[in-house]
Amino acid sequence: MAYFTDEEFHVMLSQLSEGNPDGYTTLYEIAKKTLFGTIRKWCNSRKHTVGYEEDVMQEVHLRLFKTCVTGFLMRDGVPNDNPAGFKSWMFTVAKNIYEDIAKKLKKMPLIETDASDDEPPEIEDINNDLYYEDDYDYEALNRYFEFVLDSGSEPHIVLTWVAVMLAVVRGNLNRSESTAYITCVFNDLTMDEVLDYVVENADKILWLQISEELLGRLRKKLNKTDSEGQRIGGKKYCDFYMKKGDRASVSDWVNRMNGRLIEEELEQKEEEDDDDDETPDGK
């Protein structure tokens, strides 16, 4: 099985730390030659994932681009110059993504408790105890939510983003529904009301608690005025993100979140429409 050399790892590390985009070509190549064979084996081990190795690999590349620093290279605040550990971490990322895609494809139960012939082959050199993250760390998630809400000098940015995230977390919505739902809920809310939405929905999530101190700081930020003298808390969501007068438009946030899948759905719909047009009688 082809793995990367220590030298290749160090070239990548150096390129990434310099902000050199070539670092992503190096990371892409390292990931592909290290993981692709195994991903193909996993995909071939379950009939509903056969042929999906390129899709899994693409998701893995994206995930590695986004989390290589926070997830491994600087995970504990110091440079993690450990090529073998990086390889194990990449396998863990790949395995998690493969399992997610497999679940989605087969609509499996979220947790598999029963080992069967359907199980993908184990990779001996993965240190699952060290890197495999199965359950959410709700205490940490609570801290992250608070940290995000407390950050930034422009409160509407983080407030609306968190509100959208909460809508998704609480909503049991698929991607298409989330667009309609979020547009419906947030379009006419003021920032004060968006904050109320966040508080109300956070209250319904057992592990999420927004402290009174943080709430006070957020209200103080919303009481400030913008460059036009308007109180930020009184401005509407649509004033910030929506095309005025066009209720059908969706916010940047939803577009960013749904991105490619909405495009795929639209493409699929167009294809279906084209198919309908190509009926035998030509109508």
């Binding site: 990434l16 730390s17 310099e18 902000g19 050199n20 985009p21 670092g23 992503y24 693409q58 590349h61 994206l62 681009f65 986004k66 989390t67 290589c68 620093v69 926070t70 290279l73 600087m74 605040g77 997610d100 679940k103 989605k104 609509k107 940490a140 998630l141 801290r143 992250y144 939510f145 940290f147 995000v148 950050s151 930034g152 422009e154 940015i157 983080v158 983003w161 968190v162 959208v164 995230m165 998704v168 977390v169 909503g171 049991n172 919505l173 698929n174 991607r175 529904e177 989330s178 309609a180 739902y181 419906c184 809920v185 209720r247 059908a248 946030w253 960013r256 979140m257 991105g259 490619r260």
Partner: protein, 83 residues
């Protein structure tokens, strides 16, 4: 002493919400990752945004596999009827 320009919330949100690999997203990833390799403050911030985003994305994917609640369906129908 040099002054480091910190990442904005918009840059962080764009980075954590990246959903495809292209020239633009690689440029953004290169800029953000090189910055957070040096800047503890922004790295913690990116980690926090990533955690919240990942949770939402997990729920979004899971939601496509489970039965939708009647409440949400009603809210969407109401919206579609109004607009």
């Amino acid at each position: 002493m040099t002054t480091m320009k910190h990442l904005t919330e918009n840059e962080i949100i764009d980075f954590v919400s990246m959903n495809s690999i292209n020239q633009e997203s690689i440029g953004l990833a290169a800029a953000v990752n090189s910055h957070i390799m040096q800047c503890d403050e922004c790295r913690e911030k990116v980690k926090a945004f990533q955690a919240v985003n990942d949770l939402a994305m997990d729920k979004l994917v899971a939601a496509s596999e489970i039965t939708r609640t009647e409440i949400k369906k009603e809210e969407i129908i109401k919206y579609e009827t109004e607009s």
